[in-house]
């Protein structure tokens, strides 16, 4: 009995981190033969398990996201949302998927049918690849590569090209307009995004996500406290590329019908829809990892499974995306690009400068982290507040154009132009 208890409580069975059983399995395979004969098999098995886990997670997450998003947005819009399929409309995502699968996938006659077919398939790849490096737990990273931060940006930079493929091959003017808008926006927002990530990398000295989480664990602080500017610029610039409402100019429903996927129907459209949700989840996952401590929650991760903490943070941050989507009108493309170049880029640059100075002072003089980090946090928070408020007051739209009310006229004849 004690043996069984010990076995159950021993590390490989520990469900707080699903990486443990996998590691045990791999060790077992490696133990076959004389140590290195079946090394390749362990490698293959590890890859397969990682890929299958991510595929499974993404599938389930997308189904759940459809329901969450529809339900949350419908509550914002004072209506019920899906409530006919199953309890609380829980089966709505399944019904949606089935409907999309039954629909005919049309291909425009004058379009480029190979590229047209390829685009929804290829656009799935970056989404999947990003999830490959997210640390779901201390040992739950499918591919723990040491340039993960840069890798996320690099993989994401392939998306505008796929959007262009979809828009161009449709041979539709709305699609082409949407694709061009999408590209123009993506290349503008990549720069503040990279710069904001640079601040995090400078501060922690790590480029792999697990290392960043462990740094936060080591110093017992969330990076959003130390890097509020970077967190803000990253959130804005990353969510700008998601094609969600305040920045959905690439598919702008009221202007260019559905942008680059106007001509897609059936499950091809479904893939675009799913990728949109998947990308949003990935962005909230990265945000949670970099700025909200990832799987670490002030020691609570000793009792709660780390992956549950991470999923919880991811979904809560996804709620922020739903909120912005449900409440804001869309910006015009020139305003959006102005915002990237004239607001986010200077802020991110200032942030990098300040962080570099702080880190240099800290590392060169060997001051203890207990002194540096609180001071740096206060400096950065105050600085970001001052910068944002100052910027909006000096250059922002609010200063020049205050909202007014209409003027009320009672004596109309006297007020008429003569």
């Amino acid at each position: 009995m004690t043996a069984l208890c010990g076995y159950v409580l021993s590390e490989w069975y520990d469900l707080r981190d699903l990486g443990n059983p996998v590691q045990a399995l791999l060790d077992w395979i490696n133990g076959w033969g004389d140590g290195s004969t079946f090394h390749w098999l362990a490698y293959v098995v590890a890859g397969l398990i990682g890929a299958a886990a991510i595929g499974l997670f993404l599938g389930i997450a997308m189904l759940s996201l459809i329901w969450i998003e529809r339900k949350a947005v419908s509550r914002i819009q004072i209506r019920y949302g899906p409530n006919r399929t199953g309890p609380f409309g829980l089966l709505q995502p399944v019904a949606d998927a089935l409907k999309l699968m039954q629909k005919e996938a049309l291909t425009p006659l004058a379009g480029d049918k190979y590229v047209f077919w390829l685009a929804p398939v290829v656009i799935f790849i970056p989404t999947l690849l990003v999830f490959g490096v997210l640390p779901f737990g201390p040992k739950m990273t499918a591919a723990n590569i040491n340039v993960a931060v840069l890798y996320i940006v690099a993989v994401g930079s392939a998306t505008p090209l796929v959007i262009f493929m979809a828009g161009w091959s449709s041979n539709n003017k709305y699609s082409l307009l949407g694709a061009m808008r999408g590209i123009a926006m993506a290349i503008s927002y990549e720069i503040p995004m990279v710069l904001s990530l640079l601040g995090v990398v400078l501060f922690t000295g790590h480029m792999d996500l697990n290392g960043i989480v462990q740094w936060q664990q080591k110093y017992h602080v969330w990076l959003i406290v130390l890097q509020p500017l970077a967190a803000l610029t990253y959130f804005i610039s990353a969510s700008a590329e998601l094609n969600r409402t305040p920045t959905d100019i690439a598919e702008a429903e009221s202007e260019i019908v559905a942008g680059y996927h106007t001509e897609y129907s059936g499950m091809k459209f479904g893939l675009f829809y799913a990728v949109e949700l998947g990308n949003a989840l990935a962005v909230s996952g990265i945000w949670a990892t970099l700025f909200f401590g990832g799987w670490w929650l002030f020691g609570l991760d000793r009792w709660i499974p780390a992956w549950l903490i991470f999923l919880g943070k991811m979904y809560i941050l996804y709620g922020a995306l739903i909120l912005t989507r449900g409440t804001l009108p869309r910006l015009r493309i020139d305003q959006l690009l102005d915002f990237a170049w004239k607001f986010l880029l200077p802020l991110a640059l200032v942030n990098v400068l300040v962080v570099a100075a702080e880190v240099t002072i800290w590392q060169e003089n060997g001051i203890s982290a207990g002194w540096v980090l609180p001071i740096a946090a206060v400096i950065n928070i105050v600085l970001s507040g001052v910068l944002i408020v100052g910027y909006t007051q000096t250059f922002g739209f609010a200063r020049r154009q205050r909202p007014r009310r209409a003027r009320l006229v009672t004596d109309t004849l006297a007020a008429m132009p003569q």
Partner: protein, 184 residues
């Protein structure tokens, strides 16, 4: 309350403004000859006394013997309204000067009248049919238009855009090819 100016009042003022034109006042409306329409409209718009800045409504009526275009003019500053009418006796090729140069708002209304009555507005910058398609047979609001004639041209393409290039032809399980026209 908007004052509806009587025909005599407007005609009297017009007589002062443009002594050489002949206007006729009947009830609430003033009848103007087609050739002096533009001069009268400009005078009405620019006159400090009348100030007909706003062309409220413009339409036409088919009285079988003749057409009549009706202009409802109003002054926002003076708050009064006048009715201007113009007879066209020609029935086959009715023509009247366009007032778009006086009131920009006449643009769409004149296009509508042209579309439904077939009255040509000379000097209109962009006189095309608006509700019906170019080539629609007949002018529907004329009293002698009783039904769409059998051979009328219908809108839309007779075939799919790229049909002649070998694709785009209707096909499918529920579609049977029509009989080719028999050569006799």
């Amino acid at each position: 309350m908007t004052i509806e100016l009587t025909g005599e009042r407007v005609a009297a003022r017009l007589g002062e403004l443009l002594p050489e034109t002949r206007v006729e006042a009947i009830g609430h409306s003033v009848y103007v000859a087609a050739e002096s329409l533009l001069a009268v409209c400009t005078a009405l718009r620019d006159d400090a006394d009348l100030r007909m800045q706003h062309l409220t409504s413009m339409t036409a009526v088919d009285y079988i013997t003749h057409f009549e275009t009706v202009y409802h003019l109003q002054s926002l500053a003076k708050n009064h309204l006048a009715v201007l009418k113009c007879r066209i006796d020609e029935r086959d090729e009715p023509e009247i000067p366009s007032v778009v140069s006086v009131w920009y708002g006449a643009q769409l209304q004149e296009r509508e009248v042209y579309d439904l009555f077939g009255i040509r507005f000379t000097g209109h910058p962009d006189l095309r049919r608006i509700f019906l398609w170019e080539g629609f047979a007949g002018w529907p609001l004329r009293k002698d238009f009783l039904q769409i004639s059998a051979g009328a041209q219908h809108p839309g393409l007779p075939h799919f855009p790229k049909q002649e290039q070998g694709f785009g032809v209707l096909s499918g399980p529920n579609w049977t090819a029509p009989e080719p026209p028999r050569q006799s």
